[in-house]
Symmetry: none
DNA sequence: CTTGACTCTGCACGAAGTTGCACGTTTTAT
DNA sequence: ATAAAACGTGCAACTTCGTGCAGAGTCAAG
């Protein structure tokens, strides 16, 4: 077995089970624990996992659990959420992604607004329970725990049954050449499906996303209709995508 | 179980319930109390929680409202949840209803349990994000806000694609003649669909449900396999359904 | 074909981390 | 006041870790 194959296997197991144990990996792959430990050390150096005594844990989500990622709703995200909410007209059908920014969107929906929100994020669904007029459609599928959204074939099938006026997309990275990116291939597939079934796709991009790129490309920049960014980041954004035909809103 | 995972679990429990008790943690994780105490001490040193005699509390008082909400969950419901969680064998596929009692079920799932949980409740799905080993399948559909569950034709279609070993059902009423009831016809239809696609249906019934009846009948008593009730309510229950062929568990 | 540089792997060994128990102390409840 | 529970510390057994080293395999230059 090749080293790269072995490392890929370790990452696959880690992704699927949320942990790897050095000893059991060595038995499973019929290698000494030393070799496994070396692999783990190198993968940790690449930032692909987090080394712990006895094995390893995923690089990001474990830490996210610790620090309480949710708590960090910046003013910028709130402003973006408010601006996005204001774009929704009464009676419209709206796709909403999961994520900290989109949570701000639904929190800023005016109570008198009557609309249908379709989402593959259980968190967004729960958030909308307290809204008196919004009808919520939940898209099912396998739960991708890192982002807390439904993914997979059944999610994409369910999306195909809907047609929305607007899709508010959250991304991990937005880069002038690479386009819109995210950290998981299945999540990217779901976002593409949502975009395909919406008349208009609007990307919500808090400042830390601008100029960043993650492994999986969702769409190139020219396939979206709008972009909402925080005040103060406009110049940067306009400079990056001058001819894209994407309307930029400053929140 | 890895040390870091254990600590993450402690913090997750703390976040959910607003408190942790050293003794119960040691039982739940099958470790000596000494080890738990060591973990708590170290987490306290990192400022992630506040050490108190007998266990620990959240570091910041910001989570105080969490513990307040938790208080609504009676000891009875917790006991029922614990008993239900203990019925799940590794590798099983489990349907879980929405509701305050079933939330207790998923909170008492041991962290080492590997299983698949399928639910039409976004709250249950979100709750399970912090569990390291459970695979979650979310059933989509129109959100019935009163109970915070997906209902409707698409939900029932999605359910038809699954087959579970156990279905843990929550109900509004349980009456010797009327059977199992709930307050909404669509919710009843979904519960029937879940029951149809599970090998075994177990009803979680906190004391206030016994003898009560709501407008919509889900199933007659003889179509379920098990009933979990609180300690102290057994005589009443046994008297009400003596010949039903339903196994009654006292939590 | 041979040689030398390089990489990968497993083993050995000392260091470090982890865990449960024993024991004496502190806190809590009755 | 007394008993029970929870606590901290020290300790021994055990596991896991990192490093140095040697043997095996690979590859390209000579």
């Amino acid at each position: 077995m090749l080293t790269q194959q072995r490392k890929a296997h370790i990452l696959a197991v880690l992704k699927q089970t949320g942990q790897v144990v050095a000893k059991s990996l060595s038995e499973q792959l019929d290698l000494s624990e030393d070799t496994i430990r070396r692999d783990l050390r190198e993968l940790a150096a690449e930032g692909l996992l987090q080394r712990v005594h006895g094995g390893a844990l995923p690089a990001s989500p474990a830490l996210a659990d610790f620090s309480g990622r949710q708590a960090i709703a910046t003013d910028g995200k709130k402003a973006i959420g408010r601006a996005a909410a204001a774009m929704i007209r009464p009676g419209q059908v709206v796709f909403v992604d999961g994520g900290t920014t989109t949570v701000q969107l639904v929190r800023h929906l005016p109570p008198e607004l009557e609309a249908t929100i379709i989402t593959h994020s259980p968190s967004i669904a729960v958030e909308l329970v307290s809204h008196p007029r919004i009808t919520v459609e939940l898209i099912g599928g396998r739960l991708f725990k890192h982002s807390v959204v439904a993914v997979g074939a059944s999610a994409i099938e369910a999306i195909a049954r809907y047609r929305a006026d607007i899709y508010f997309m959250g991304v991990t990275g937005i880069h002038p050449e690479t386009g819109l990116t995210t950290g998981d291939s299945e999540e990217a597939a779901v976002k593409r499906a949502l975009s395909r079934h919406a008349a208009e796709t609007i990307v919500l991009a808090s400042s830390e996303k601008l100029g960043a790129a993650s492994p999986y490309v969702i769409l190139p920049m020219n396939e979206i209709q709008g972009l909402i960014v925080e005040r103060g980041t406009r110049d940067e954004t306009m400079a990056a995508y001058p001819a894209a035909g994407v309307s930029v809103t400053v929140a």
